[in-house]
């Protein structure tokens, strides 16, 4: 995919977004660009310095030599900060038929369709957001975009920001630290349970699908929150590089579940660092679905720091033609009696490649820990590829560690059986794939689960022609 001009480039589907912006930084990365972003957002001095330091770290770090092919990213051909207008981007009529059809088939609501297609710059959720804000406010829950969070709660942000994923963690964390914009800021006070999943698109006052999103969630002792980002419908983006950082602090006895469904268009590099720090008896859960993008490299991790802490990672990857999903999870046991479970399901079709990459580390301080990793891969045709790259590093003998993985194809008998009952080949394959990923889909909020199943059905139709 040519990456010549990520802003003006036409979509693979021939869909353009006109350039109408309040403010746009100059192309490429420089101290001046970063200073400009910080100035434009009227940030405190420490954040300006944080960004500039991160930029130096970004320059000093090399690209990872493992994982996907990153050599084609041109960091100087990217606009690092664009403040979007509130005007309509394009009209519904000009959207290509294929996109509209996808939206229809998945069955998403009209207002959401327009938002996703870039027709309305903001999802019409103002009313919903306001009423949610009111209920949350009563409980003392803070739910803002990251820029507003920094403005309104500078002390709280300063205490946590960049402490779990420091800029020197990796090259892309450094890039995000320098150029971040948007993302969510959530604080849940002690003992408060947020029953409704908080969804990124409830927020109306910020572009939430930014290139360099930065999310910070703090769940205080004994609290609970479920955060949902992304959506199953394809997101058409002109930006060729998305690099988010998500830091989550789970305090004693708290529980946080973070659900992501990523479906970027297939011109996007999606390189994300996500980490949760779980204290005593806390529970951290990642549900991570990767369907879109050209290349995704994302390994949500749980750092089990307190006695009895628990981490769970569920990952689905779906790679179609030209796609590489390099995804997985990491569980690191620092404290005694901690437990973790990683379940990964991947599907490769039409020449797509999925790789599971994971780390399981048990330090000597983590007596009595238990962990289980299960990876299953499904290869639909002989052009596709599946890899499994787990690492287990165990420095404590009083542990129970298990890893297992299988790679297989759709069974001929299964297909034959379903087709003998009158299903077409595509329907039968879709049914089998949906059954394969079911253990993870059932953990998703209902509307996401329904959309995901329909999307897979649609993709499978295309794959067998």
């Amino acid at each position: 995919m040519p990456q010549s001009n990520p802003i003006n480039t036409s979509y693979p589907l021939g869909f353009h977004e006109p350039e109408k912006y309040f403010f746009k930084s100059e192309k490429g990365l420089s101290e001046k660009v970063i200073e400009n972003i910080s100035w434009h957002k009227k940030e405190p001095e420490w954040m300006r310095k944080f960004r500039l330091d991160a930029l130096k770290i970004f320059y000093s770090k090399t690209l990872p030599t493992w994982g996907g092919e990153l050599g084609k990213i041109n960091f100087n051909n990217i606009y690092y900060y664009i403040k979007p207008t509130n005007k309509k981007a394009v009209s519904w009529e000009t959207l290509p038929e294929e996109i509209k059809r996808t939206y229809d088939r998945i069955g998403i609501p009209e207002a959401e369709k327009k938002y996703l297609g870039g027709v309305s710059a903001q999802y019409e959720s103002e009313v919903v957001y306001k009423s949610i804000q009111k209920t949350l406010g009563k409980k003392g829950v803070i739910f803002l975009d990251m820029d507003s969070g920094l403005r309104e709660y500078p002390e709280l942000v300063k205490q946590y920001f960049g402490t779990l994923i420091p800029p020197h963690d990796n090259k892309f964390a450094a890039l995000n630290s320098a150029a971040w914009s948007g993302g969510s800021f959530i604080y849940v006070p002690k003992g408060v349970r947020v029953e409704l999943p908080l969804q990124a698109y409830f927020r109306i006052n910020a572009a939430n699908m930014g290139q360099f999103e930065r999310t910070l969630i703090i769940a205080d002792e004994g609290s609970f929150v479920h955060y949902v980002e992304g959506c199953t419908a394809p997101i058409y983006s002109t930006d060729s590089l998305h690099s988010a950082v998500v830091e989550i602090f789970v305090k004693k006895g708290a529980r946080v579940r973070y659900t992501t469904i990523q479906n970027w268009s297939t011109n996007v590099y999606n390189l994300v660092t996500k980490r949760m720090r779980v204290e005593e008896d806390g529970v951290g859960e990642w549900i991570d679905g990767n369907l879109g993008s050209k290349l995704t490299m994302k390994y949500p991790s749980v750092y089990l720091m307190g006695k009895g802490a628990r981490g769970e990672i569920l990952s689905i990857a779906y790679a179609g033609p030209g796609q590489h999903q390099d995804a997985g999870g990491k569980a690191i046991h620092f404290a005694p009696y901690t437990t973790s479970k990683i379940t990964s399901k991947s599907v490769s079709v039409g020449g797509g490649r999925t790789s599971y990459r994971g780390l399981l580390q048990v330090f000597q301080s983590a007596k009595g820990s238990k962990s289980k990793v299960v990876c299953d891969a499904l290869l639909i045709d002989d052009a596709s590829r599946s890899d499994t790259y787990p690492t287990m590093d165990i420095k404590q003998n009083n542990t129970q560690i298990e890893h297992e993985a299988t790679v297989s194809k759709i069974g001929d008998e299964q297909l034959f059986y379903l087709m003998s009952r009158g299903l077409s080949k595509a329907d039968a394959e879709a049914m089998i794939v949906n059954g394969f990923i079911e253990p993870i889909v059932k953990e998703l909020p209902l509307e996401y689960a329904v959309e995901l199943n329909r999307l897979i059905q649609l993709e499978m139709e295309g794959s067998v022609g």
Binding site: T391, N397, T399, T406
Partner: protein, 207 residues
């Protein structure tokens, strides 16, 4: 024995080629006190070949063992089955990295990989990286790895039958290794290797 190859020390770039319909067993058997590092590559270039790769590793002292295995399936309809166990005493460390690669033309291949590690001291380390790279779809591949200590319940059960802790441990460790030896096609070889293992375990447990 023509069909069993015993690898009792590790070297760099060790490669064996397996041809059409060959039936071969490789046994990695490392029970002495040396530090060891090396790789074992099995290139399956023939159809309908059947390969077993077995391993017993007993580490002790501050011994370090680094083992890389590579099951490279280049031809269709072949099977490779790897099963490696380590028993780690004292401050010994075992790094294992194993790759199964099924190349594009190697349809209808079956490949398995299993690595089990028993840590007998709180200073022993094990690192396991069982990798898969699958480029053909009509295949069956699985891998699994476990790391843990002697099952407390099994020890308890044996002690209720009157065994001392040392006797019970010995029984459980040799049983853990027996699992591998049982897959050897040669009874004589099996018995002589078991003897070696028993002597070694006896020595290590009485330290």
């Amino acid at each position: 024995m023509k069909n069993v190859v015993i690898v009792d020390h590790l070297i760099k770039n060790q490669e064996f080629i397996v041809k059409n319909s060959e039936n071969k067993t490789f046994l990695i058997f490392l029970t002495d006190l040396k530090n060891q590092q090396g790789d074992l590559k099995i290139s399956i270039k023939g159809k309908k070949a059947n390969v077993q790769i077995l391993g017993i590793i007993i580490g002790s002292g501050d011994q370090q063992i680094k083992l890389y295995t590579f099951q490279d399936h280049k031809a269709p309809e072949s099977t490779s089955d790897l099963f490696i166990k380590s028993v780690l005493f004292d401050k010994s460390r075992f790094h294992y990295e194993g790759l199964i690669k099924i190349e594009k033309g190697a349809q209808k291949s079956n490949a398995y990989q299993k690595n089990q590690n028993l840590l007998l001291s709180d200073k022993a380390w094990a690192e396991s990286k069982p990798y898969l790279e699958i480029l053909a779809n009509d295949v069956r591949c699985t891998h699994g790895a476990t790391i843990g200590q002697i099952d407390r319940e099994q020890l308890y059960y044996l002690s209720t039958r009157g065994l001392t802790e040392k006797e019970a441990s010995k029984l459980l460790i040799t049983g853990f290794c027996q699992d591998i030896l049982d897959r050897l096609p040669d009874e004589k070889l099996k018995a002589s290797l078991m003897k070696k293992i028993e002597t070694k375990i006896n020595l290590l447990l009485s330290n």
